[in-house]
């Protein structure tokens, strides 16, 4: 990495207002602010604690560097004998506590904001399987599985000879970050998620939304989001779930409300039509009963 690249990357890191990213970028150094109010709050608190740590690091490592240069035996210094300084000890206990309180306050606020899953306009049930996701729009008949796209799947086979760099989509490279059926969601709508799993613990993570939530077999966990910006947001399973843990990505396609409503209605009709056809085939001569 050239020095100019390093400086550019550092400058980028220093910028507080950053371009939201849908996918990871090469040489990416920092978290993206994301596309929801929550993700921006999370990004802000991340930057706050990062700068606090950098500040403390500069002080501590700076003191060490000065000591290493000045207090060397080779310079003929005579070592001091003291091993106490009550004022220093009190100060370096109290000040860290104050810094921690300063960090805990916005952290608590953000957490309370994230905990409120009430008054959602749409609920999506997410079920983790080995090794794919199932999405169901609660209150409709729309229910489908979402798994790793075929090109990624073929490429990732051991010794496939295929090049990950050529797994592309409009977005750019989507190797291991693409699925056959994305989760379509409306923007500017509070969406509640309920999670569970079919077999082992999985975890549903889309960095652009600002959080991840474990999917636990036999239990239900929940979360919510309100996406500001239309776009395609990619994530991955984030809890080791067996051999293909790295191969069950998540794709969220956020579209404006009208587009979403139309899409959902169409999918719902297809689902109900298919259901009717399926029940008709199995019910045999009780067709009249299921009309």
């Amino acid at each position: 990495m050239t020095p100019r690249r390093v400086l550019a990357a550092l400058a980028l890191l220093a910028m507080t207002a950053m371009q939201a990213q849908a996918n990871p970028e090469p040489w990416q150094l920092n978290m993206s602010p994301g596309v929801t109010e929550t993700s921006r709050m999370v990004y802000d608190i991340h930057m706050l604690i990062l700068w606090v740590c950098v500040g403390i690091g500069v002080i501590v490592f700076g003191a060490m560097a000065v000591a290493i240069v000045r207090f060397r035996k080779s310079k003929g210094v005579v070592p001091a004998r003291w091993s106490h300084n009550t004022l220093a000890e009190v100060v370096w206990t109290i000040i860290p506590v104050l810094i921690l309180v300063g960090m805990a306050w916005p952290a608590t606020r953000t957490l309370i904001h994230m905990a409120d899953t009430e008054d959602a306009e749409l609920t999506v049930k997410v079920t983790g399987y080995q090794w794919l996701w199932r999405y169901e729009y609660v209150g409709t008949g729309v229910n489908f599985v979402s798994k790793l796209d075929r090109q990624s799947d073929r490429t990732r086979m051991l010794g496939s000879g295929l090049d990950p760099a050529s797994v592309l989509d409009g977005d750019g490279n989507v190797y291991l970050l693409n699925v056959d059926n994305p989760l379509v969601l409306p923007t500017d709508t509070k969406v509640r998620f309920v999670f569970t799993a079919n077999d082992v613990i999985h975890s549903w993570w889309v960095p652009a939304l600002g959080w991840k939530q474990d999917a636990i077999p036999g239990f239900i966990t929940d979360a919510w989001t309100r996406i500001d910006t239309p776009g395609t947001y990619r994530g991955q399973c984030a809890e080791l779930c067996g051999k293909d843990h790295g191969f069950m990505p998540i794709v969220v396609k956020a579209v404006p409300r009208e587009e979403f409503d139309a899409w959902l209605a169409q999918k719902d009709a297809e689902a109900r039509g298919a259901a009717t056809a399926a029940t008709a085939m199995t019910a045999g001569d009780t067709l009249a009963a299921v009309q």
Binding site: M1, P24, E25, P26, Q28, N30, M31, M41, V42, I45, H46, I49, C53, V60, M64, A67, F71, R72, K73, P79, A80, R81, S83, H84, E89, W92, T93, V97, M103, A107, T108, L111, I112, M114, R156, P164, A165, N173, Y175, L177, D199, V200, I201, S203, W205, P207, K212, D214, I216, P217, G218, T221, G235, A238, L240, G242, K243, D244, H245, G246
Partner: protein, 536 residues
């Protein structure tokens, strides 16, 4: 009893090889066995890490299949935690604690022998599972159910191995407490003891408190798999998350078990090479005790994404953040020890100072992880991997290397090669940072943990990290060579004092330390001690 032992000493006492190394109860020999075992395990666990980093060198799957990759990540961690780091600290404790307190040996020398010899059998059992048809454990070293229960024939062997290692640790801890509380020479008050003894005393209480909890957790896994219980199975009324609570109730104190002795080592080395007393001895002791206490009430910070209620998340966030305070006190005290000292930078000091800088970096990422809303983005990503490798490798492992260079002349009677030691330090430091620093970026950019392959956006930092891994691994061969040379006696003869600024009873015995030391308690002159000054 005492006269019998004295008469026994007077004999021409030359046990054969098997008697000495398999049946011996001498704390120095047992310490040596632990340290050599640990070094071997370090290379075995390291080899597994190199398999992992080789596969992650480029996107795409080139070398291993995902199932084997998961076995490598799982066994790498188990070997490094239970086979390398913990036994190394036990070895250092065994060698140095009796010398530091003026005791002739550990309180329970025969139990000490068993504590060690359990380990090779336990690890043979663990490593043999890699050669089974169904392979070794592949659900992560944390063994979360239901995934770990999908494992094959390896499960009972892994669980049995963990039980054996746990028993070894518990017996070792009992021995340390009994030794420190009962066998200190007259005049060696608790608040005059070297900090290394204090950190080990506190660590021993942590071990006794939590190893039985791990035993319980893995036994419940065993019964869920073979004896029709449903501790972790919702269909039977159980809860997979309960395992996580039980495991991490062990797991969090466990990581402090792996770092407290490191703090002790660094607190011995920095004053010696600064030629200045340790700053704030009593505060250091109390800070260590506070860290140990707090370590029991923070476990759920490993589980922030399981769906815990808000109140639980807030409690564990605040408690976890609090640990930064006593830890900060320790770091500031080390720097204050350096301040206005007269420092020289031999290899032990280089590793100790490297520890302070890089452990602090690991501490920073730990503080970031404590903040729950941010942790929702960091959890189960390479950001966590970077954090714990900074505190465990540049933290615990570097302190073990510092201790080895510091005490090798006392153990073997010869000075190690300072040139080779410095080369080992600088190469290790450069490569370990290439290896782990980029992993912070990978985690922030969105790369999850425990995956064998990744999107091309993550390529560059993964390649750098893998280069760092191979460089770091190869650099450890220098360390092995340094140790072998000293064992063979190749080097300048060491004096009893060894280091100009060193203080303590251990530096009053010859180098190499005779097989039996302090068979009669020493008469302690406070001026010989590092903390003999009662005004401390």
């Amino acid at each position: 009893m005492a006269t019998h032992a004295a008469a026994h000493d007077a004999h021409d006492h030359k046990p054969g090889f098997v008697d000495r190394w398999f049946f011996g109860t001498n704390h120095k020999d047992i310490g040596t066995l632990y340290l050599l075992f640990s070094l071997l395990m370090f290379f075995i666990g390291g080899a597994m890490a190199l398999v992992i980093r080789a596969e992650l060198f480029m996107p795409g799957m080139q070398i291993v299949n995902p199932e084997f990759f998961n076995q490598m990540t799982t066994v790498h961690a188990l070997v490094m935690i239970f086979g390398a780091v913990m036994p190394a600290f036990v070895g250092l404790g065994n060698w140095m604690i009796p010398l530091m307190i003026g005791a002739p040996d550990m309180a329970l020398p025969r139990m000490n022998n068993w504590s060690f010899w359990i380990l090779p059998f336990a690890f043979l059992m663990l490593l043999s599972t890699l050669f089974m048809d169904s392979g070794g454990p592949a659900g992560g070293w944390t063994l979360y159910p239901p995934l770990s229960l999908q494992g094959g024939a390896s499960m009972p062997f892994v669980i049995f191995a963990i039980h054996m290692m746990g028993i070894s640790s518990i017996m070792g801890a009992i021995n340390i407490i009994a030794t420190i509380l009962n066998l200190r020479a007259p005049g060696m008050d608790l608040l005059k003891m070297p900090v290394f003894c204090w950190t080990w005393l506190i660590t021993a209480f942590l071990l006794i408190g939590v190893m039985p909890v791990l035993a319980g957790a893995v036994t419940m896994l065993l019964t869920d798999k073979f004896f029709l219980t449903s501790f972790f199975n919702a269909a039977g009324g159980g809860d997979p998350v309960m395992y996580q609570h039980i495991f991490w109730f062990f797991g969090h104190p466990e990581v402090y078990i792996m770092i407290l002795p490191a703090f002790g080592v660094v607190s011995e080395i920095i004053p010696t090479f600064s030629r200045k007393p340790l700053f704030g001895y009593q505060a250091m002791v109390y800070a260590t005790a506070s860290i140990a206490f707090l370590s029991f009430i923070v476990w759920a910070h490993h589980m922030f994404t399981v769906g815990m209620p808000l109140g639980g998340q807030l409690f564990f966030m605040y408690a976890t953040m609090l640990i930064a305070v006593p830890t900060g006190v320790k770091v500031f005290s080390w720097v204050s020890t350096m301040w206005k000292g007269a420092m020289t930078f031999e290899t032990p000091m280089l590793f100790a100072l490297g520890f302070v800088v890089m452990f602090t970096i690991g501490g920073f990422s730990g503080l970031m992880l404590a903040i729950v809303p941010a942790d929702f983005q960091y959890h189960d990503t390479y950001f966590v991997v970077a954090h714990f490798h900074y505190v465990l490798v540049t933290g615990a492992v570097f302190s073990i290397m510092a201790a080895t260079y510091y005490w090798l002349p006392k153990w073997t009677g010869v000075m190690y090669s300072e040139k080779l030691g410095k080369a080992h330090f600088w190469l290790s430091t450069i490569f370990v940072n290439l290896l782990f620093f980029p992993q912070h970026f990978l985690g922030l950019a969105g790369m999850p943990r425990r995956i064998p392959d990744y999107n091309v956006a993550f390529s560059d930092f993964n390649m750098i990290s893998s280069i760092g891994a191979f460089g770091f691994g190869l650099s450890q061969l220098i360390f092995a060579w340094v140790v072998i040379r000293c064992i063979r006696g190749k080097g300048e003869n060491a004096t009893a004092q060894v280091w100009e600024g060193a203080k303590g009873l251990e530096w009053t015995v010859p180098s190499p330390a005779p097989h039996h030391t302090f068979t009669t308690p020493p008469v302690i002159d406070d001026r010989v001690l590092a903390h003999g000054d009662v005004s401390h």
